[in-house]
């Protein structure tokens, strides 16, 4: 599938991508996908082994887009209050005062989300879904934009609570970063410390600009033929024997939103079938279950190849 190196989209998006590619080497597609996920107002799940740059990616995006960033390390004794915040008795006023938790930031890195108990997980997932926090009977809106990057270790380990399938649906996309190629790794080893590079960066956008881009992405034109195409793809998963259960309407909506954001990043005001094909593995991969086992990547490629573009 097509990933043109440079296309004259919105200059700010191009700048963000260029700078990001400069810091995380050889991962243009993944960075682009993460950005698309953010611009489609979705949340991102990164499933990969430790040390491939998950944190760096989250940190970098927050910095470049001019958004505030919080990291929550999920552990088995993490409590919902540790995420959402607590009310503390204020002696001066004689009242309880709410101390917002780390969730009240625009970009949140939920690291190793499968280490925490389901209770803590669902606190975060509810906040993601509703974009607000209800604590002690009061509802507090979360900042806009609000973007959660959760990371999960793929290997099954004792004492982990893998996100249940129903919760996976809350993430618009799931991607893997993967090891860098040889040249990129060499450059990484010989270059400066990434953390320092990031802290030296200047924001290229602001929260307001990101909101505007999100609005713009929603208005990317989707021709009726492409809506048919998304429908055909979704329907195919509902009947195909290689999958256990088909994609939900929410997944179909997610495909449309992601494809629109992808098209905007590519600098277009209209969708192409290629946009849908590009985002399909990230949007559908974690929502489908293979019936007999095997490789999801291959199954998804077969899915694309067995549905004709209308």
């Amino acid at each position: 599938m097509l990933t043109p190196k440079t296309r004259s989209g919105s200059p700010s998006i191009d700048d963000v991508l260029q700078t990001a590619n400069h810091i995380i080497l050889g991962k243009e597609r993944e960075i682009r996908m993460a950005l698309a996920c953010l611009l489609a107002r979705g949340h991102l799940l990164i499933e990969d082994v430790p040390g491939v740059g998950k944190t760096t990616l989250a940190h970098l995006l927050a910095k470049l887009l001019g958004l505030d960033f919080q990291r929550i390390q999920f552990t088995s004794d993490l409590l919902p209050a540790d995420i959402l915040g607590v009310s503390v008795f204020d002696r001066d006023s004689g009242n309880f005062r709410f101390h917002p938790g780390p969730v009240f930031s625009s970009v949140i890195l939920a690291d190793e989300v499968n280490r925490a108990t389901p209770k803590a997980q669902s606190a975060l997932l509810e906040a993601m879904e509703e974009r607000q926090v209800t604590a002690e009977g009061k509802t507090r809106p979360l900042p806009e934009p609000f973007f959660v990057i959760a990371t999960q270790n793929p290997a099954h380990q004792i004492g982990t609570f893998p996100l249940p399938e129903s919760q996976l649906d809350r993430f618009l996309m799931r991607i893997a970063i993967g090891y860098p190629d040889r040249a990129a790794e060499r450059e990484l080893l010989s270059g400066a410390d990434r953390r320092e590079m990031i802290s030296a960066l200047q924001p290229l956008l602001s929260a307001q600009a990101v909101l505007e881009l999100q609005q713009k992405a929603m208005h990317v034109h989707a021709a009726p033929a492409l809506i048919d195409y998304v429908q055909a793809l979704v329907e195919h998963t509902r009947h195909a024997p290689e999958f256990d259960a088909g994609l939900s309407p929410r997944a179909a909506l997610g495909m449309m939103a992601s494809a629109r954001a992808w098209a905007m990043i590519e600098g277009r005001d209209h969708l192409l079938p290629e946009d849908i094909q590009a985002i399909l593995p990230s949007v559908a991969g974690h929502r489908l279950k293979l019936a007999v086992g095997g490789d999801m990547t291959i199954a998804l490629r077969q899915l694309v190849e067995s549905v004709a573009i209308p």
């Binding site: 004794d77 004792i158 024997p241």
Partner: protein, 324 residues
């Protein structure tokens, strides 16, 4: 008789030829015009005979309108050929889902019937060779999943046999039919034994452990407190931070977690293999129904203790494919 000996072979060769020697076929199977056969049905033969009588009557009595009517009905017969053929031609069949069944049950092979035409296709009948007929109707430019019933007799993989799809719609005078054999198989679990020995759950103490399913060595996380949980396991510190009345229970994982092992070797040696598999299938079902954590030990395969739908499926699949 010679004919009787010759018959089945001839029939088999006909089916081979009808499927163009490609069984099982690559999907999607499209019923192109060459694969659709058309012959008059019994009612159609009656219709033709009626038309013959009407023609002779019209000739004898020089009924010009009688000729018109007979020829019109003849044309209607031709139109019936075309329309019946059309109702079946260019349907495409792709394999759908097929959930596993126990031996002795009826397997339902899912086949997705796709109608690319902007006209509905009513009154299609399908059957897998040896199964019952089902009647279905595909809306315009849509697809539906047909579930072909077929009794599963033996454990293991049950391959979808030759499928006949036919229609007599619209007039019932013509039967159009086609054969297809898409690649589709159904997993058949061993038939659960009726009189199986009880689950090998051991003595009462172990049983309690089995039901808790958790050790007490390593802290593994928190969950909502249940009244049955030991007060020693309540996470008081966490509750204090929580600012709510709910208690939380600490969970531990440890070496001494007891699991139920369903072991091939534990079975009486007098039983034959199929009987042993039946008993084990029964045990798996019972263990799953009791929400136990169990593992499976077969001569060539060990499935580590687990629970839930996929674990049950994995165990039963191992039993179904034992020795295959």
């Amino acid at each position: 008789m010679q004919l009787a000996q010759f018959g089945p072979g001839l029939k088999r060769r006909f089916y081979q030829w009808a499927l163009r020697g490609r069984a099982p076929e690559a999907s999607p199977v499209v019923l192109t015009q060459r694969r659709v056969y058309v012959l008059p049905s019994r009612a159609g033969l009656g219709y033709a005979a009626s038309l013959g009588v009407m023609l002779i009557g019209s000739m004898n009595y020089s009924l010009s309108l009688g000729h018109v009517l007979t020829f019109l009905l003849g044309g209607l017969g031709i139109s019936a050929i075309l329309n019946t053929f059309r109702n079946l031609a260019f349907i495409s069949i792709t394999p759908g889902r097929c959930s596993a069944v126990f031996a002795g049950e009826v397997a339902h092979f899912g086949l997705v019937i796709q109608n690319n035409r902007k006209a509905e296709r009513p009154a299609l009948r399908m059957c897998a060779d040896g199964g019952d007929w089902i009647v279905l109707e595909v809306p315009p430019a849509d697809r539906i999943e047909a579930l072909l019933p077929l009794r599963a007799l033996k454990r293991g993989w049950l391959e979808l046999p030759r499928v006949t799809i036919e229609t007599r719609y619209p007039l019932g005078l013509i039967r159009a039919w086609a054969y297809a054999q898409p690649k589709q198989q159904c997993l058949v679990y061993p038939r659960p034994a009726l009189n199986a020995p009880p689950l090998p759950t051991g003595d009462g103490d172990q049983k309690g452990n089995v039901q808790l399913g958790r050790g007490s060595d390593d802290f593994a996380g928190l969950r909502d407190h249940h009244p049955s949980d030991s007060p020693r396991h309540v996470a008081w510190k966490a509750v204090a931070r929580q600012h709510s009345d709910e208690l939380l229970t600490k969970l531990f994982s440890g070496e001494n977690t007891q699991s139920l092992w369903l072991d091939w070797e534990q079975l009486p040696t007098g039983l034959d293999n199929e009987m042993k598999l039946s008993v084990m299938a029964r045990w798996v079902c019972e263990a799953d129904a009791a929400r136990l954590t169990w593992g499976l030990r077969l001569p060539a395969e060990v499935i580590m203790p687990g629970t839930g739908e996929s674990h049950r499926h994995a165990c039963l699949q191992a039993l179904a494919l034992f020795g295959r």
